[in-house]
Point group: C2
Chain length 488, copies 2
């Protein structure tokens, strides 16, 4: 079996073919990764950061070529993809620097306390070690930022882990080129061979997640795909952490106090909803607005001017269309549409469904329409709003639009915090800054691990495990950590 | 069905019977816990600490009564149990204070940065919230410190969670009395009703872990029991974190440089091995020593003087005996024995098996003999030692005895760090201090979550989930956190 790129604008295959990785190759990759990880993990975080900067520099220097091929494979457009390359290299540098500077490896010294237990105890030095080899699954919708050299790979490498990466089948050439550039940089900097490896095919992913020598998995993608991999990781003889970001249905609440410039609100909504053809896991899937004919009219008229954009793949389109049609038939909504999709390629017409809060059941809203379909729920009062929002499943992000002194605002912020990982005030949820304060996660199905983020500096902590040393004399600290021991 | 205490010294049932908790009662408990958690979680950590101190004070004031009944149910002896009550109340106070003082809830302010992405971003306030309702499973071997009011309950309550606790069937009366004292204290301090609940029976545990409103599970116990519960938690429609500490086979390495006072070494080994009848998850299960007839003779002669102690329950004994006999028949060891077990009650004769490294396979050593059975592996050289230790499964703790300037020591410390959560120098592994630097966990099967500890201050972080607020004005910080925002 082999894999070939398909241009989603024309539905035509192009370019070289990639053989799926054999089980034997996978085992060899992991053997090499285990050996490489021992060397890479024993380096100082500062030394690793130098290498990762070199990877970022080389990626930047070949951005034009990367964007060219990614645009053909994903149809996301060169402007967006150029920005995404910059985001990806920024992320590599930020995480590498954070690992070396922000105390992720800083040992915690708990000095001996004289006397009998429970108060008295010997000295402890609590250190952090890389978890080992990590299997990373590239995502389709961000061919750079959440793919071969995306946030999962960057945080795992920054943490001192080796990575075995499954290329997403929707952009194999972009994946291969990213990998080759990274390999170039790693070789130049003298990093151990086998530190990163790239494989193709579904079977490869399963084998690379099941190997007993692999210590964690990381994934961004669909709920069904992510859950299947999560189940594999958890049912191993030795279960391992599996950091899946499975996407979500994100609630956005408009309070009455925000219904001032409704035209701008409608434009902002559709811009966010249709960004990247709606293929953002932070898409404003569910918009709650007070009953307002004026706002709905603006949405309807504005949407009518919007063109269809290509899906990432035929599969993405068919999943979207199936879920959209299911929501349509089960909720019987008022329907608005954008311009008709062209006949060739993977396109669907942008649509917005309008429902009344009083008539909708929260479970009918659980289906993620990953693509250019939005749902607006109009509510009469806060009780209607609360009763639905409180029952929604976990989400990556919720947002609220309101006047800053709206007395309802604190209640809504806390309501959204109940099932969202990030709560945004007066901005649309798409756009996830790579920074220390970020949290891109949330209760299931937003993430399979509610404690962790897949974006931002804290993503590093997913790949570090504590090891405490008891009773070491000062002279031996340097044998177990390359970091300075404070208070020593 | 009902549950009754059994005195392990005599194998006779005694005292009141406990009905197993019905599914309907369980659902009501969780409904009450959800409501209570909202109130408890919204209090400041400082206010919660006051309440938890009151619980600790009341437990201390009834220590004599608690120890009396626990001794009858567990056979662990009053000296040990008195110490364990002190440890438990120390732990309640330490975790409560740590949650309020050591920054677990401290919001992280990431101020806005001007400019376009990826560098520019709005402001973020990264907060921590209690995860929700936690189902806690009491352990048999620590009827206080790892049971109803043990470390899991203490850390969950300190984190602002409500707890639903499954009493261990081997000490139902101790569980009930602990619960009643805690309820007294909670009522006196005005804590919300339903904050803690106690149930009995295996079915109760399953229902309480499966309920969709429960957000985490915590367990200390056997590998088979813990894995079954882990599987339940992970196969829910919405999987939740399950913090299982499943025990382990802990390696202790004696280097040649430590073979000075071999009599003292043999005594220390047997004291640690037979502590609490060997029913410690930090038991020195596997002792690696250089070939030394002198040391073995000391172990043999010293062991011959040791009395048998009661098991916690018939089940614990039968599991131990089965695993011990399996190791005996598969490895055909040299065998040393203590004094013969008495005919009545749940006793087994203490035993030590001696094997040669050259003839043993690591997988033969994977069976945990939870009880008074130890294995000594004698090695000829470090290569023999390394080849076995490197292949052992994850363990809670490893230890090494060596002269501090032994040039082999750094290598052994790092070897043990490869699969242990805690590495001890020149002390026996039993005894787990409750303190900030502790790590009681490790790669599977030591723990189901390799990133977390079930003992010490960091145990709190298992029950906190991040929520980031984006774009809030300063004035709204107090709406989403009761903690001061630094840099504000």
């Amino acid at each position: 079996m082999s894999i070939q790129s398909i241009n989603p604008r024309t539905a035509t295959a192009f370019g070289r073919t990639f053989e799926v990785t054999s089980d034997q190759e996978t085992v060899h990759m992991i053997t090499a990764a285990v050996a490489a990880q021992k060397i890479w993990g024993a380096m100082s975080a500062h030394k690793r950061a130098e290498t990762l900067h070199l990877v970022a520099d080389l990626i930047d220097s070949q951005a034009t070529e990367l964007v060219e091929i990614a645009d053909q494979e994903t149809g996301l457009g060169k402007v967006r993809l150029t920005g995404e390359v910059a985001r990806t290299t920024f992320q590599l540098r930020l995480l590498a620097d954070a690992a070396s500077k922000e105390g992720f490896f800083a040992p915690e010294l708990d000095s001996a306390v004289e006397g009998a237990p429970p108060q008295g105890h010997p000295n402890f030095l609590r250190t952090k070690r890389p978890i080992g080899v990590v299997t990373v699954f590239g995502a389709s919708n961000f061919p750079f930022a959440f793919s071969v050299l995306g946030g999962d790979t960057a945080s795992a490498l920054a943490a001192g882990c080796a990575v075995v990466i499954k290329a997403h089948s929707a952009h194999p050439q972009t994946s291969q080129l990213s990998y080759e550039i990274a390999m170039d940089a790693l070789k130049k900097s003298g990093a151990p061979a086998g530190l990163i490896a790239l494989g193709h095919g579904r079977q490869f992913g399963t084998v690379a997640l099941t190997d007993p020598r692999v210590s964690a998995g990381a994934f961004t993608g669909s709920r069904s795909g992510g859950r299947a991999l999560f189940d594999i990781a958890q049912s191993r003889p030795n279960p391992i952490p599996f950091y899946g970001e499975l996407g979500s249905v994100n609630p956005v609440v408009v309070l009455q106090s925000a219904l001032t410039d409704v035209a701008a609100l409608a434009t902002g909504y559709l811009d966010s909803l249709l960004l990247g053809n709606g293929q953002f896991c932070t898409n404003p899937s569910l918009l709650f607005v007070p009953e307002s004919d004026e706002f709905l009219t603006h949405v309807k008229e504005n949407l009518a001017t919007r063109e269809a954009s290509p899906f990432l793949s035929e599969l993405t389109q068919s999943l979207h269309d199936k879920n959209r049609d299911h929501v349509r038939s089960s909720t019987k909504p008022l329907q608005y549409a954008g311009k008709s999709a062209p006949g060739e390629g993977f396109f669907s017409t942008p649509e917005v469904f309008v429902l009344m809060a009083a008539k909708v059941k929260p479970e009918e809203l659980a289906e993620e329409c990953f693509g250019p379909t939005g749902i607006i729920v109009t509510y009469k009062n806060l009780q209607e709003l609360n009763s639905i929002v409180a029952k929604l499943e976990g989400a990556l992000v919720g947002a609220v639009f309101a006047s800053k002194d709206d007395s309802q605002l604190p209640g809504i912020l806390n309501l959204l915090a109940g099932n969202c990982g990030r709560v945004v005030l007066n901005a649309w949820p798409t756009g996830v800054a790579v920074t220390a304060g970020q949290h891109h996660g949330g209760p299931y199905p937003a993430a399979t691990s509610v404690l962790h983020t897949s974006v931002g500096v804290h993503a590093i902590s997913r790949f570090l495990r504590p090891v405490t040393f008891q009773g070491l004399p000062d002279a031996l600290y340097k044998a177990v950590t390359s970091e300075p021991v404070k208070g020593n």
